[in-house]
């Protein structure tokens, strides 16, 4: 049995309504796993880039890529090598913060993690942080002590290092 691994799949697709549904529907129908899926416009007009994080063995990965390629609106699909890939996720974290000490500690954490405070209320702070999913997890763990009110994560998006493109 092949090892189950997490894969970063980058797909260049037509930027049209329904394409995300086609892609995500494919995963559901074929029983493939989706950990996250992000999509946004690409460098080319009319084309969007999707980043799909999925778990599975090599056989499943091969099927995912082949089945994605069958979708008429999918132009290119690549399994990105984790070593040679920049992966980033954006996360907004709203914490409970009433005491002065809590506020200053949270602010310090934000600085250490190169995050920013993007909203301040009498009883809360909202942080913005970008980084690898692991880094975001670490910050969330730290902030739990203060009481997290809400988290909104985008899911990872990814691009190859160096001059390589898909």
């Amino acid at each position: 049995m092949d090892e189950q691994r997490s894969h970063i799949i980058s797909a260049l697709v037509m930027h049209r309504p329904g394409v995300l549904q086609r892609v995500s529907g494919l995963f559901t129908r074929r029983g493939f796993n989706i950990d996250s899926i992000t999509v946004g416009p690409s460098e080319q007009d009319g084309l969007a880039r999707m980043t799909i994080i999925s778990r599975g063995d090599d056989k499943i990965l091969e099927q995912i890529i082949k089945q994605l390629n069958k979708i008429i609106e999918v132009i290119k699909v690549r399994d990105l090598d984790p070593e040679g890939t920049v992966v980033r996720e954006l996360c907004l974290i709203k914490t409970h913060a009433t005491s002065e000490s809590a506020r200053s500690e949270i602010l310090q954490y934000a600085n250490i993690f190169r995050g920013r405070i993007v909203d301040v209320g009498p009883e809360n702070l909202t942080l913005e942080i970008t980084g690898t999913p692991d880094k975001i997890d670490a910050l969330i763990d730290l902030l739990r002590a203060y009481g997290i009110k809400e988290i909104a994560r985008t899911g990872p998006t990814a691009i190859s290092r160096g001059s390589k493109t898909i």
């Binding site: 549904q21 129908r29 091969e62 082949k66 008429i72």
Partner: protein, 579 residues
């Protein structure tokens, strides 16, 4: 011109001369144009039959079949037919009406998300939001439906888009950057396959529907004869290799022939062409062809390695790849000899030819199928429904030519046989067309007797009448302790009277010897007809239980022991060069 006129012009430009459909409120603009057009419209009595008829038309002719249904229930009724075509890779374009664009999403009257519903069961789908999109959309739909691995394409047409104005473009270019099917097989892979074939001592060819779609029967036969490899087929491949050929083994799989199942188990090299290794074909994949290196030729890269691990995958069009393979193998002719294997195959095959002649009543299905075989010619198209009738036909009926055996394989759609026959007859009016159905499946679509009567489509429907949902009852008998739950059809119509009430000629057959004559007369009458064939409800076909290996067959065949000699192979006129 108007959107609706552009639809008709686009269809005619694609060479469409007949469509199967059913009108409805949102299709009024389209049907108003059809009223004046040269397009032949066949009004079915249920949209499901329109989709199956378009599918039968496509499979019989190799052209794209077209069906039309209105929004909402019209579109959902097409769905079973679209899914059937998708599973069996039949090129169909389904046009669906849709509520006006301003109403979409508001749960308007007869609104349904046709694109959403058909997404997982079609090769592609389009929704026109502006009349100017129509020409290119329809053009692309036909292109997608018939190229690469064929399949159904859905075009959703809102009412106001049909009514809107557009300038029909002079040139339409197909712009599908994400759709570039591979045709030519990778030369290195073909070379590897040839080497594997030359090294093998016990090769077997497994041919699927892809051989029929790519029209590569001739190449396949040459290779088989050159290397002395027997040919087994999937259900979809039936007819792509003459089944009376000494190297033909018949169908493989759950309901396959003993010879096929045993020899695939024994072979050292399996050359699979245009098949997808469905569970019905392979049985337990872990026990499938355990001694063989597998070469898999398929136009759809996603089929390779999906169900069965292969040694040499080749992606591309079977005709091009087989021709290439044939060139290499021909040059190595001295090295290709599997005389011992071929001899073993022929002897083994002769030892397990199923018995077909029975003289008792109630009629044995084997006898009925033997008589059907005797009543038809090589050009007769037979369609089947789903269930025992289908498997008896697949098992006992000898197909000699591609596109002459049409059956719902992947989806196993009851109710397919009769409307598919209707479509096949419309596509190939010079060929006799016979639909072999069960009583359960035929009753699902019997209302379309009205259609064959109205348009004088002379198909002959043979209802193998055992008052059971035979295949399900067979499974209950074999695997559920004979608990026949909900599969006995207690109240059924008198099919003869039913047909007559539609004005269709009808006959009843109850004894051996009657079927051949009745079918021949019905075919010669040139009119649609129904033959109600009363068969033995207790007859079952031995099978491989689900999850078992191909050699683990339950039940025993009655084997033709009296005359176990070679079957005489009749080369067709084309093969002998005669006329």
């Amino acid at each position: 011109m108007k959107g609706s006129q552009a639809i008709i012009k686009s269809l005619t430009d694609e060479g469409v001369d007949v469509v199967f459909g059913y009108p409805g409120g949102v299709l009024l603009p389209l049907y108003d144009v059809i009223y004046d057009s040269d397009l032949k419209h066949i009004l079915v009595r249920h949209e499901q039959c329109a989709a199956h008829a378009a599918d039968g038309y496509a499979r019989a002719s190799g052209k794209v079949g077209v069906c039309i249904g209105t929004s909402g229930p019209g579109a959902t009724n097409l769905v079973t037919g679209i899914a059937t075509a998708y599973m069996d890779s039949a090129p169909v374009v389904a046009l669906a009406g849709q509520v006006g664009t301003s109403l979409i999403g508001n749960d308007a009257f007869q609104e349904v998300d046709t694109i959403g519903i058909t997404m997982p069961i079609s090769k592609h789908s389009y929704q026109a939001m502006d009349p100017s999109e129509i020409p290119q959309m329809i053009r692309s739909s036909f292109y997608i439906a018939r190229t690469g691995r064929p399949g159904p394409v859905v075009v959703d047409l809102p009412k106001d888009v049909q009514e809107g104005e557009l300038d029909y473009p002079e040139n339409i270019t197909i712009d599908l950057p994400g759709y570039k099917p591979t045709k030519k097989g990778h030369p290195l892979q073909v070379k590897k396959a040839a080497e594997l074939i030359l090294k093998s001592k016990k090769p077997v060819i497994l041919a699927g529907g892809g051989v029929i779609h790519s029209e590569s029967s001739e190449e396949l036969q040459h290779i088989s004869e050159l290397i002395g490899a027997p040919v087994t087929t999937s259900l979809m491949g039936k007819g792509c290799f003459p089944e009376d050929h000494p190297l033909s083994l018949g169908m493989l799989g759950m309901h396959g022939r003993v010879a096929s199942n045993m020899l695939v188990d024994e072979c050292d090299c399996l050359i699979a062409v245009g098949c997808r290794f469905s569970d019905r074909t392979t049985g337990d994949v872990n026990k499938f062809a355990p001694n063989a290196e597998i070469i898999h030729i398929d136009v759809d890269p996603a089929e390779i390695g999906k169900n069965v691990d292969v040694t040499v995958p080749i992606v591309g069009d079977a005709k091009i790849i087989l021709s290439h393979l044939l060139r290499i193998l021909s040059q190595a002719k001295g090295r290709v000899s599997n005389a011992n294997w071929t001899k073993h195959v022929k002897t083994f095959r002769a030892s397990c030819i199923p018995r077909l002649s029975f003289d008792e009543t109630p009629l044995k299905p084997q006898q009925v199928i033997k008589e059907i075989s005797e009543a038809v010619t090589d050009d007769t198209i037979v369609t089947t429904d789903v269930g025992q009738n289908q498997m008896w036909m697949a098992h006992y009926f000898t197909s000699r030519n591609p596109r002459k055996f049409i059956s719902s394989g992947g989806l196993g759609t009851m109710g397919f046989g009769f409307p598919a026959a209707m479509g096949a007859k419309v596509a190939m009016p010079d060929d006799d067309v016979v639909a072999v159905c069960g009583d359960g499946g035929f009753l699902m679509v019997c209302q379309d007797l009205a259609t064959v009567k109205e348009y004088d489509i002379p198909v002959v429907v043979c209802v193998l009448d055992n008052r059971y949902l035979g295949m399900v009852a067979q499974w209950q008998k074999l695997f559920y302790d004979e608990r026949i739950s909900q599969t006995k059809l207690k109240a059924m119509p008198d099919f003869v009277k039913l047909a007559e009430s539609f004005g269709v000629n009808a006959h009843r057959v109850e004894r051996p010897g009657e079927m051949k004559e009745t079918l021949r007369e019905a075919l010669d009458s040139g009119e649609p007809a129904l033959i109600d064939v009363m068969i033995d409800p207790n007859e079952i076909l031995p099978m491989v239980p689900p999850g078992c290996g191909l050699t683990e067959i339950v039940g025993e065949y009655q084997v033709e022991r009296e005359n176990p000699g070679e079957i005489t192979y009749r080369p067709s006129a084309k093969e002998t060069g005669g006329d």
